[in-house]
């Protein structure tokens, strides 16, 4: 089995977090085939950060269109047999890819593997934001993009991310994956650290939160039509 893993890192003005994300991908015990940065119109020092890595990583730019659109850009340029997603403010633990790939080797019918995630407060988070967030210190089931390793062919059976959702885009995609009966498992292992920072407050506005409701509505509608 060709086990080339394309790592897709969408980013938007997270140059200050991006180094840790890229390094955590580069430091995997199982080396990825390629690392793709999908820049969603950053205006900060993201390009400078990327230059430090030279040809080690592939860089693609698009006008700002949201995280779904950025991931899609990366997917369109990915050539590996597997896709792994890492949000640019998150960090992988060193054995993430190795542990997940091992499961694929044990079960050739598997489509996707998730793992556990632990959330942490970024060192630069403001006191006011920190006060508002109730953060579990436990590791929790990580049904998020940053823990997922999936066969490219399985991903394309589901389709790209819907670019119109600012939040909830992964929930939308995952519900479609369930409808396509993709076979997935959740590892007990902790594979990803999820950074909680002030930036979350900018994206999780009241209006954006309503996207969750629309995603759920679309899911229920699809189920109704499938009956």
């Amino acid at each position: 089995m060709n086990s080339g893993i394309s790592v897709i890192i969408p980013t938007y003005n997270y140059g200050h977090y991006l180094i840790e994300a890229i390094d955590s991908a580069l430091n995997q015990s199982y080396k990825p085939y390629e690392i793709i940065i999908a820049d969603d119109g950053s205006t900060d020092n993201t390009v400078e950060v990327i230059k430090r890595y030279g040809s080690t990583i592939k860089y693609f730019y698009r006008e700002n269109g949201g995280i779904g659109a950025a991931r899609n850009l990366g997917i369109q340029h990915a050539t590996g047999d597997f896709l792994a997603f890492l949000d640019s403010d998150d960090i992988w633990l060193p054995k993430k890819l190795e542990l997940q790939l091992k499961r694929f080797q044990q079960d050739t019918e598997l489509d996707m593997v998730f793992g556990h995630v632990k959330q942490f407060f970024s060192a630069d988070i403001s006191a006011s934001a920190k006060q508002k967030i109730q953060l579990s210190e436990e590791q929790i089931a990580g049904y998020i993009a940053s823990t997922l390793l999936i066969r490219s062919s399985s991903f394309h059976r589901v389709g790209l991310f819907e670019p119109q959702w600012t939040v909830g885009e992964f929930i939308d995609w995952y519900s479609k994956a369930q409808e396509k009966k993709l076979k997935g498992i959740l590892l007990d292992d902790l594979v990803t650290l999820r950074r909680i920072h002030d930036g979350h407050q900018h994206t999780r506005t009241q209006r954006n939160f309503q996207h969750y409701v629309h995603v759920i509505k679309a899911t229920l509608q699809r189920r109704k039509e499938a009956k």
């Binding site: 089931a141 909680i196 409701v213």
Partner: protein, 154 residues
């Protein structure tokens, strides 16, 4: 039942929207989501527009020509269910100016049906992961969804 019979959204982790005569509700704290259709959707909307449970029951009985006793019983069970799911909570201190004196409204396409709260838990782990407590105490929208919907009153 509360003294006023009025209720409000349980907290800022409960988000909802009326679309196509259906109310989709998510309790982000629990990771559960719900769908209300038909009369149940209308009850939700009227409750959140400060109509009392008694007033809505009376209006349903009149509008759909149903015995008030039956409607009251169905309403009590429905409200209890919404409360158990932590979607609404009693509003004990409703001032007289806040209690709506007009009549509850029903969507033009609504036909009488039992008041069903459809509950789903299959996305619990996905919905639960989001750090939703970043929102402020203003909570989520309380706009009258009927403003943009075709409606008929009684």
């Amino acid at each position: 039942m509360t003294q006023t019979g009025c209720y409000k959204i349980y907290g800022n982790a409960v988000i909802y929207e009326l679309m196509d005569n259906e109310v989709i509700i998510i309790n982000l704290d629990l990771g559960h989501y719900y769908c209300l259709r038909g009369v149940a959707a209308d009850i939700w909307t009227n409750l959140l527009n400060n109509f009392s449970q008694q007033k809505i029951s009376q209006a349903i009985a009149n509008h759909f020509h149903q015995p008030l006793e039956n409607i009251t019983d169905l309403m009590n069970k429905f409200i209890e269910e919404l409360r158990l799911e932590k979607l609404i909570t009693p509003q004990e201190n409703v001032s007289s100016t806040e209690i709506v004196s007009a009549q509850p409204l029903f969507h033009a396409k609504t036909e009488f049906s039992h008041f069903l709260l459809e509950k789903y838990v299959d996305m619990k782990e996905l919905l639960f992961l989001d750090p939703i407590h970043e929102v402020d105490e203003q909570g989520w929208p309380n706009q009258n969804p009927y403003l943009s919907e075709a409606i008929s009153d009684q």
